[in-house]
């Protein structure tokens, strides 16, 4: 079953201040089966993030279609979906993880994960159990659970970020360079986590810097240069 299908997608940015219009990407097409995982590769500035942000509708694209197989709404074009539908999908079906943790101030790690579950309509009891399971699963030190994440290290923030996004068990997870600022050890942990999500049937689209990280994880890559899907490239050692 096709989970995500991007057709002739393009996005321009108009800056009124500079009186310019810049084409970020155009002519992007690919599709992804349920449970599949593709990495988007290309040099910096080639529009990798633009694709992810448009799928999540943080960007409002101008061209093409992005079809998503929603459990609630059936097959729908995310670019034409109503805002309230997008809000619902973000709460229940589509997750987004970047390297930045952008959350309510003075909210503890535990509360943040619980709130994601409460937002889906879980009971407070179930949210508490789910949040603890998720924090433990992502190896976040128990002493940190009831502290505010702005004091966390980069790796801890990221694992919390992934915990918040995945505790809802989204059908589609978008990973926007989540490992960019991590040391090797933390990267390995994140890699394990992603591997587990994939095994559980989550469909993933991700941007990563190093091919080594993607090896054995991604089913293929979308190359921004060639504008085509292809198999995992050989890692040069």
């Amino acid at each position: 079953m096709v989970m995500l299908e991007v057709k002739d997608f393009g996005k321009r940015f108009t800056s009124h201040h500079q009186n310019t219009t810049r084409k970020a990407v155009e002519g992007i097409s690919f599709s992804l089966e349920q449970g599949g995982f593709i990495g988007i590769v290309g040099k910096s500035g080639s529009g990798k993030s633009t694709i992810l942000k448009s799928i999540y509708r943080t960007y409002l694209p101008d061209e093409g279609e992005i079809w998503f197989d929603s459990e609630r709404f059936g097959r729908l074009d995310l670019l034409k979906a109503e805002e309230r539908q997008i809000i619902w999908l973000r709460k229940h079906e589509i997750g987004y993880v970047s390297q930045f943790l952008n959350v309510m101030p003075r909210t503890t790690a535990r509360e943040l994960v619980e709130q994601a579950l409460l937002g889906m309509g879980e009971t407070p009891g179930a949210a508490k159990i789910g949040a603890e399971r998720s924090l433990r699963h992502f190896d976040l030190d128990e002493r940190l659970w009831d502290t505010f994440p702005n004091t966390f290290s980069g790796g801890e923030k990221l694992r919390l970020n992934i915990a918040i996004a995945t505790v809802k068990k989204p059908r589609l997870l978008l990973l926007d360079e989540p490992t960019a600022s991590l040391d090797h050890q933390s990267k390995l942990k994140v890699r394990e986590v992603i591997k587990k999500l994939k095994a559980d049937g989550t469909t993933l689209v991700g941007i990563f810097h190093d091919l080594e990280f993607m090896e054995g994880l991604c089913d293929g890559v979308y190359d921004m240069n060639e504008k085509a899907l292809r198999g995992m490239p050989e890692v040069q050692r």
């Binding site: 943080t58 409002l60 805002e83 309510m104 409460l118």
Partner: protein, 282 residues
């Protein structure tokens, strides 16, 4: 594709508020020839022009714009502090369904205000009686909403003060003795005391220092989560809007110039003014 069977709780169509008589020139559709929101030939000011919006159950709608963009006038019109020049307001509530609430009697407007609305002003002086105690301020609204049992009102009032973290041993004190943040929290408790389905928040964090601001934002989020109240939050502070609102409208010169998902407004603004606003964000 399946439709979303959700219906808005509050709907506003083409709300217009003008100060002045209007003339042939500015009366035309689209109001050409205005300087910002001012008609040079007759001197009429259009504080709000054809504003339409909807708020869904449990949703926080953000409204941003600079001073003078019409956001406070919009709130005052919705709260019936001001008469609109034109437009319709409907609320999907069995008691109010199908009526244009801008057109009903002032008695009925008062009823809506007392039973369906809560309002938190930027300046606590507008929302509180500074020489009544905190708990009496809450009681005032409870009585307006039909409360008559003193014991019940008192216990409900104490519960609300507890929700907004005002220590109960200070509940009989007058709000003028309180700090700005505490006054704002008493105002929020008062606004919630009639269990309103709709809450209006007008620049509620403006003028508060950062930690107090965070506490008020936290409280608003908590109220949304626990009580499922729909809210309209007006602020010129994009950071506040980003933390609170799911969707956001941008106002300029009395008009809505852009609307969308809050993160989309902040990261991919389309209108020249919105871009300027976002680029000014610290």
């Amino acid at each position: 594709m399946q439709r979303f069977e959700e219906r808005p709780l509050l709907e506003v169509e083409n709300l217009t508020k003008q100060y002045g008589p209007g003339c042939d020139e500015c009366g035309q559709p689209g109001r050409p020839g205005l300087i910002k929101n001012y008609c040079p030939s007759c001197g009429t000011v259009y504080a709000c022009s054809d504003v339409s919006l909807d708020v869904f159950p449990g949703e926080i709608l953000g409204i941003v714009g600079e001073s003078g963009s019409g956001k406070s006038t919009l709130m005052q019109c919705l709260y019936f502090d001001q008469e609109v020049t034109a437009g319709t307001l409907t609320i999907s509530d069995p008691e109010l369904a199908g009526e244009n609430l801008f057109g009903v009697s002032s008695q009925r407007k008062r009823y809506i205000r007392n039973h369906k609305y809560g309002m938190v002003y930027q300046n606590p002086v507008k929302g509180l009686r500074m020489d009544f105690s905190a708990i009496s301020n809450i009681a005032e609204k409870q009585i307006a909403a039909g409360g008559r049992h003193v014991g019940n009102m008192q216990s409900a009032g104490e519960r609300l003060l507890d929700v907004v973290s005002i220590p109960l041993f200070r509940m009989k004190e007058e709000p003028r003795n309180f700090s700005g943040g505490m006054q704002q929290r008493v105002q929020i408790a008062k606004a919630l005391s009639n269990d309103p389905p709709i809450l209006f928040l007008d620049e509620v964090t403006t003028g508060l220092d950062l930690s107090v601001q965070a506490a008020v934002i936290d409280l608003i989020k908590q109220i949304q989560r626990d009580l499922g109240i729909s809210m309209i939050v007006v602020s010129h502070d994009l950071a506040v809007i980003r933390m609170l609102a799911d969707r956001t409208l941008v106002m300029l010169n009395g008009r809505v110039i852009e609307s969308g998902l809050t993160d989309q407004i902040l990261e991919d603004p389309h209108h020249a003014y919105t871009q300027q606003l976002v680029y000014s964000l610290l």
